[in-house]
Symmetry: C2
Subunit: 469 residues, 2 copies
């Protein structure tokens, strides 16, 4: 528990109502959406409402050597917000203003606490959209998703969060606030700090304002569901679509286990005997082009022995996407622990990865379903387990290790969109090597020499703690 | 002059033929394409042919405290390659292999010495293109353009170099080589080091391999030339096109002075009495959409009192682009010093900037022409001067200062695509402030504590040396 004097000082900075203590509050902020990582109690939750307040909190914490854990909505999936060293949870949720919508320059400037969907609602009247689309778009905040470099369902065509961040203001560990980037498409003044802070998981500074790029909302779209009896046919369909140079907005896969679970949960009429489903949506500004792309997809699905269902109304389209979005909650309803991974491979290796995942499930006798963003190689193998069954959890951990090793062997990465956080920290060296780990430490030590910001995340506390291959 | 022992050691590392000395060689590498910056003689030019050689050269230089100046083709426009502290010019031009073209994953992996156009030629048979398109595409190297984060003519629709770099290998000042990123569209493993090194101007490490994203080459394009009697009409056409949510591949402007100079130089039949020309090209995969976009552009040009010339053949299209590409050489032929700036503003402020630039030319009694990438706000005000006329050069420097101040006042940036180098270093603090400068120093000191890599560039040698506003 923090000294009462410090609590008083925090109250003086942000106001009494914006400082939360008491065990109910502390427990609420002791965990996030991640399964199978330790929980930890913060000593206080501080909810600043301005950049000036953030700076003062950081200065106080630096002076008193208290850890700061920045937090948005806590939807992250790698344990990134858990206050391992206790200290201060700095919730940015009250900094929730949309500062500016600049339709002429296709930019928006927002505070970190703005919920992604709220930004999209605000820009819709201008015919604009903010493309990054994590599954948690209705609750996740802009600050959290920038800090985690969120991906989501539209990554294949539209890219990820980092492709939409043009500038930001950050409060550093030394209490300085710095602005970089801006509204120009081209900017080579100084290092590309915006990109360094995107995906830095709160370990280098606290993001207090974001200028992001917007796009015109596509006027036409066509959603389709393709069912396959053989997994390889689904995988080949994915690569054939890309090879045909058709780039769908979304190209999602569900394996049989996910299909059955979603159908049990949501009763949307999915074909429960299919080995795999693809959910495909093409979109664009020209009706004809969208129709041509849809035709190309239909032809490729049929060539690969898939059976098609085409959404002929907005309602049918919404149904398809509800089914996809139900995948995680449906799986989560089956057991008390859902280990959701996001090992990612180059898109040409998606079939290999899908087959390897099924084999890993069998090998370790686990309930393992896979869904995810097949189009960009970002799959979500999901293991359901009972955390009170030590033997099963040990097999889960072995399986996860093998999943990571397989992704790397196929030229992929440990994490496509969930981040490293606590969950994947010990595997980091397997991907980036000792000199990569050293470079991580160098950057961290330079910007946050006392490791005050989100300590225990992303960067191993000791060098070279990675698991040998 | 370096000790003979060191020359011998360098020869042992890279081979005798790859170590150049002698005054002709040293003079050749004492300058680059930038006007009005100091030249400086290197002590030796070293041309490694492998990453292992680069590491050994760096280790030797670190041990002997010799500065290293990495260099591609020397086409940069901010003095970024000039060996201010003498030492070693490390030319990467002999590391010129295309390591892999992976058409299935839409990526290429190249060594830094590959010329951009050579990459484009190699991928053309696959129907692919590498979109970043600096004016010097036929000579500039991939390494140089990544280190400078080159922009170019297609920035509006396709973005700049940083949007196409997916991964790289870098040799650090400590002699380590590190790989990061890769072929996956999504990758949140570790900090986004690729983005940190893109545009770092050789001050943080030496890029020895690059994995870049490719795009399908658009199958259709339509190029047009629009002439305007009034500059404001040209400016309004640019913003009306963007407002109509038509995103041309290129949207270039030339002012009257540039038009007349190009016409004198290249005799392509430009209307020399026009106040401004726009060169506009729309492109895409669907003929109908390209035609529709062209129609929209034509309507907007006519609404703004422009007169149109539409390229009806590939030859006519090539002629238009030759005229645009002739702008710089044409202007350069007029006097002995061509100060080419790239102050950049949000696209909604392009007209304001064009008018301000004309006024600055008048105010300082200078020959100032402007051309550039109107669509992305990246203008190239170009001042022609006689470097032997001290009074005129002093007015040039005042004008440049006012150009930068105006760009910042309009919400823009010092440099859209040419970089900071030597040329804009003293203005850097005006944009990023003291805490931004301090952050630059922090990163530089962390990665290159002895300032061995490209010293004297991008980061002011002493803190807070920026010009007050």
């Amino acid at each position: 528990m923090l000294d009462e004097i410090i609590i008083n000082q925090l109250q003086a900075i942000v106001g009494k109502d914006n400082v939360l203590i008491g065990s109910v509050n502390l427990t609420t902020y002791s965990y996030d959406a991640t399964a199978d990582v330790p929980h930890a109690m913060p000593e206080v939750i501080v909810m600043p409402t301005s950049t000036a307040q953030v700076r003062k909190v950081v200065q106080l914490a630096a002076w008193k050597s208290i850890a700061i854990y920045p937090r948005g909505a806590g939807t992250n999936l790698s344990g990134g917000t858990i206050p391992l060293d206790h200290g201060i949870v700095l919730s940015l949720q009250k900094m929730d203003q949309i500062v500016e919508i600049d339709a002429e320059n296709l930019t928006a400037t927002v505070q970190p606490g703005v919920v992604i969907q709220d930004l999209n609602n605000a820009i819709a009247p201008f015919g604009l959209m903010y493309p990054p689309d994590p599954g948690t778009v209705t609750t996740a905040t802009m600050g959290g998703s920038v800090a985690e470099n969120s991906g989501g369902l539209r990554g294949l065509k539209y890219g990820v969060t980092k492709h939409y961040v043009m500038g930001m203001e950050v409060v550093l560990a030394n209490g300085n606030s710095v602005r970089f980037g801006g509204k120009t498409v081209k900017n080579v003044t100084a290092y590309d700090f915006s990109s360094l802070f995107v995906g830095s998981e709160g370990t280098l500074g606290i993001i207090v304002e974001i200028t992001c790029k917007l796009l015109p909302e596509p006027k036409f779209h066509k959603a389709m569901l393709a069912a396959f009896n053989v997994m390889e046919d689904a995988g080949k369909t994915v690569s054939d679509i890309i090879k045909a140079q058709v780039i769908p907005a979304t190209l999602e896969i569900m394996d049989n286990m996910t299909i059955r679970t979603v159908e049990d949960f949501a009763h949307v009429g999915l074909p429960t005997d299919a080995a795999a489903l693809l959910l495909i949506e093409v979109d664009g500004m020209a009706e004809l082009v969208v129709a041509q792309e849809a035709d190309a997809v239909i032809r490729i699905v049929e060539e690969n022995h898939g059976s098609l269902h085409i959404a002929n109304s907005d309602e049918e389209r919404d149904n398809l996407w509800s089914a996809r979005r139900a995948a995680l909650p449906a799986l989560a309803s089956l057991n008390n622990t859902v280990v959701l991974e996001d090992a990612t491979v180059p898109r040409s290796r998606v079939t290999d990865m899908l087959l390897a995942l099924a084999e890993i499930g069998r090998k370790y006798r686990l309930v393992l379903g896979t869904f995810g963003h097949a189009g960009d190689g970002n799959l979500h193998p999901t293991i359901l387990a009972d955390k009170y069954n030590a033997d099963e959890m040990s097999r889960v951990h072995q399986a996860v290790e093998e999943i990571f090793a397989t992704a790397l062997k196929l030229g992929g990465t440990l994490s496509g969109e969930h981040g490293i956080g606590i969950a994947k920290m010990r595997f980091l060296g397997n991907e980036i090597g000792d000199s990569g780990l050293e470079l991580m430490q160098t950057i961290k030590n330079a910007l946050d020499p006392t490791h005050m910001l989100n300590p225990g995340k992303l960067i191993p506390r000791e060098e070279k703690t990675h698991v040998s291959r």
